[in-house]
């Protein structure tokens, strides 16, 4: 599916990251280990769109708004 956003992820889905927002947020994502090409799993999705993502033994939570700015493709 083209132009899919991370915010569209549902629990149990896996996706590859295609695009990150620019600037400091992007640098921060690279630091914690998320880049274009990284694969993430959606572990939980809370009402309101807050996501819990799993990758490389890590779990991070991010708000739906931020997920809106990240492009993915489902794997």
């Amino acid at each position: 599916m083209p132009d899919m956003k991370l915010s569209a992820m549902r629990k149990g889905m896996r996706a590859r990251i295609d695009g990150l927002p620019d600037g400091e947020m992007r640098s921060h994502f690279i630091r914690i280990g998320l880049m274009e090409g990284s694969v993430v799993a959606c572990l939980e999705r809370l009402p309101g769109g807050t996501l819990v993502l799993g990758f490389q033994h890590q779990e991070v939570a991010l708000s739906g708004e931020l997920a809106e700015s990240i492009a993915i493709s489902q794997v």
């Binding site: 600037g23 400091e24 947020m25 992007r26 640098s27 921060h28 690279i30 630091r31 914690i32 280990g33 880049m35 572990l43 939980e44 999705r45 809370l46 009402p47 309101g48 769109g49 807050t50 819990v52 490389q56 033994h57 890590q58 779990e59 991070v60 939570a61 991010l62 708000s63 739906g64 708004e65 931020l66």
Partner: protein, 676 residues
């Protein structure tokens, strides 16, 4: 330690940038690591007893410094990398740049994330030693970390620990002697060395190259475009990932109780019930056990009846004093009262003091000392700055703050707090905050002053402003909550519902309005969920003590100044004038008895005094609602005002203060008009 690593670059003579703190002759060890990797445990292990906690100059970031052997030992805030994205990073950056030895603590389970910082420290040309912590957790998750291979890949010495269980910590002493420069990207290293003539050190050169404006400015050179940072970051990320393929091998992710609990606590169905249980446990411990049972003993018995009494009696030895004695009955109500007048002090008329003692007999009594000398009243009278600060700080606030910080440390060490922030993030966005703000808001129900200090952990000025405003306006602290609950119990369920409804909708309205009107937006939540762990008692205790000490040191003087201020108002008669000026408002607009004015003004000193003052008035159920709404929204206590002024600045602090005064009276009045 293996010696198979490629020969590290020879240490270069680098200029030392000026450090704002510490003895320049002593070498500095700096502990660096991501958040939640166990840095503080390592720091506590190395530092021993004496630790100096202070604010880093110009910021509100806490900085711990101690002595270790012949070194100065610095703890830094948890960071994901060395740069200038926020206050914590800026503070850590400067300490790292000035450090001689860097001990980098990494989480064995999160090496992908943590080694980015490690590699950056190595790229800075720092002498680094790596402490791989939480090996037990890695073992449980069936992640195998090859420490020797890691040493080879990074080119710096590595030791493994389970810090909370004190395993492997003794190896850190040896590590300090073995630190060295690690393997750097050859290309990058060349580029950095070309810059050495313009900037002081390789570390600073790297930061300039990574687009750090502050460092560039320090050396008067233009900042490098941040697209270069992305290149360097991606290259570093790739180097780290390649190294890790050699170092880490994992089989499967085991399902453990803690991991399962961790997942449940952020699930849509179980998350909220778990939150309810946690909050209820918190309420039972802090709200009931500490705030009521324990404080009744410390403040009611030790503070008032023993310490304050002895001080006042001592002051009255040679001073003209009237002692009024209230003898209490079994229910604690005043049974009889008598005044004793000592023209030459208690020492001057010992017989009269014996009479007073005989009057009390074996009953319990409250003594009020009224001194003729206004100076004595100022410091030791009813609101005496010395006596009140002492009882308030040591016997009411200290147990409360200890209890709250203990509960908070348990939650923090268990790994629950970030999950709580995740759970409530969406809801808090309505009032312009992100999930992290849940911590100061919960603390506010303990002590608004303490919570106001904690707003520091919020990411942006905008969030700090909104959180502080909500705390000061609409969150009743534990001192008030007890009296509020007692009053509401007499007023009945309808009144309780109206009261909570009003306060809650007010809180939402204020947050929403501020969110709409303040420039900027809500910073998005991106938060690490650490492993859930069983909190270790010694670590929790140490944390509780540090935090409590820090709070008392920070807030204590303000409580004294606040009490002194009110005491001056009382001695000069200004307190009476204010009360009189408020009376028409209280009687005409709020439709409360005249004495309600006194209760409101007392609320300035201590919020619970205000609420307690209302307790003794004979109020109808609706009057109780009006009184409590007004009191809750009314200006916060003097100490929290002082702390707010310090944190938020004079202009904003005063605005919030006056705003809450006006809003409290307006809304209280409207409620009164509607209910009547």
């Amino acid at each position: 330690m293996s010696d198979t690593a490629t020969t590290p670059h020879r240490p270069h003579k680098h200029l030392r940038t000026q450090g704002p703190h510490g003895d320049p002759a002593r070498k500095r060890i700096v502990l660096v690591g991501n958040p939640n990797v166990g840095k503080s445990v390592v720091f506590n292990y190395l530092s021993g007893l004496y630790v100096d906690v202070s604010n880093f100059p110009g910021t509100t970031v806490e900085l711990s410094k101690a002595s270790y052997l012949t070194y100065d030992l610095y703890d830094t805030p948890g960071i994901y990398g060395v740069s200038s994205f926020n206050d914590e990073e800026r503070v850590a950056r400067d300490i790292i740049l000035n450090g001689d030895i860097i001990l980098n603590i990494v989480d064995a389970v999160h090496l992908e994330r943590d080694l980015f910082l490690t590699q950056q420290l190595i790229d800075m040309g720092k002498r680094v030693g790596v402490i791989v912590n939480m090996l037990d957790e890695a073992h449980r998750q069936k992640i195998d970390v090859d420490l020797e291979k890691m040493e080879e890949e990074l080119g710096v010495p590595v030791v493994g620990t389970v810090a909370v269980k004190r395993k492997g910590l003794e190896n850190i002493h040896e590590l300090v002697d073995q630190v060295r420069e690690g393997k750097q990207s050859r290309e990058l290293h060349g580029e950095l060395h070309a810059m050495l003539s313009t900037v002081g050190s390789q570390g600073e050169a790297l930061l300039v190259l990574e687009g750090d404006k502050v460092i560039a400015e320090r050396h008067g050179i233009p900042a490098v475009d941040i697209s270069r940072r992305d290149e360097i970051y991606i290259d570093r990320r790739n180097r780290v990932n390649r190294s890790l393929q050699q170092v880490v091998s994992d089989v499967e992710t085991g399902k453990r109780v803690a991991a399962v609990l961790g997942r449940w606590s952020v699930s849509p169905w179980l998350g909220f019930p778990i939150l309810a249980v946690v909050l209820y446990a918190l309420y039972l411990f802090v709200g009931v056990f500490v705030a009521q049972d324990l404080v009744e003993i410390t403040e009611g018995q030790i503070g008032n009846r023993i310490v304050e009494f002895q001080i006042k009696k001592w002051v009255a030895r040679h001073a003209t004093t009237t002692v009024s004695v209230d003898v209490l009955d079994a229910e604690g109500e005043v049974a009889s009262t008598r005044d004793f007048r000592f023209e030459d002090g208690l020492e001057g008329d010992r017989a009269l003091w014996h009479d007073a003692q005989a009057y009390v007999g074996l009953e319990v009594a409250d003594y009020t000392f009224t001194y003729d000398n206004p100076w004595l009243v100022l410091f030791f009278g009813e609101f005496g700055a010395v006596t009140m600060t002492l009882t308030y700080l040591l016997f009411l606030l200290l147990p409360l703050v200890l209890g709250f910080y203990f509960a908070l440390s348990v939650l923090e060490d268990s790994g629950y707090l970030p999950r709580l922030a995740t759970l409530v993030d969406r809801a808090l966005r309505f009032i312009g905050l992100n999930g992290r703000a849940v911590i100061p808001i919960i603390l506010g129900f303990g002590c608004v002053t303490m919570a106001t200090i904690t707003t520091r952990l919020l990411g942006t000025q905008r969030e700090k402003t909104i959180a502080t405003t909500i705390l000061q306006l609409a969150i009743p602290c534990s001192a008030q909550l007890g009296v509020i609950a007692a009053l509401l119990a007499t007023a009945g369920p309808t009144a309780t519902l109206i009261y909570t409804g009003i306060i809650f909708s007010f809180l939402i309205s204020v947050g929403t309005i501020m969110n709409r009107t303040l420039p900027g937006g809500i910073s998005p939540l991106l938060i690490d969920l650490p492993h859930m762990r069983m909190p270790q008692l010694n670590n929790v205790t140490k944390k509780t003590l540090y935090k409590t000490y820090f709070f008392m040191k920070e807030a204590g003087p303000w409580f004294f100044i606040g009490a002194l201020f009110v005491s001056i108002l009382q001695v000069t008669g200004a307190l009476n004038s204010i009360t009189e000026a408020l009376e028409p408002l209280v009687v005409g607009w709020l439709k409360l008895p005249r004495d309600g004015a006194t209760a409101l003004v007392m609320g300035l000193v201590r919020r619970d005094f205000g609420a307690a003052g209302m307790y003794h008035l004979d109020l109808t159920a609706y009057q109780i609602v009006v009184a409590l709404v007004t009191l809750t929204l009314f200006v916060p206590c003097v100490a929290s005002l002082m702390v707010m002024l310090k944190e938020r600045g004079l202009r904003q602090g005063i605005t919030i203060w006056i705003g809450s005064l006006v809003l409290a009276l307006t809304i209280g009045g409207i409620v009164s008009q509607i209910l009547n």
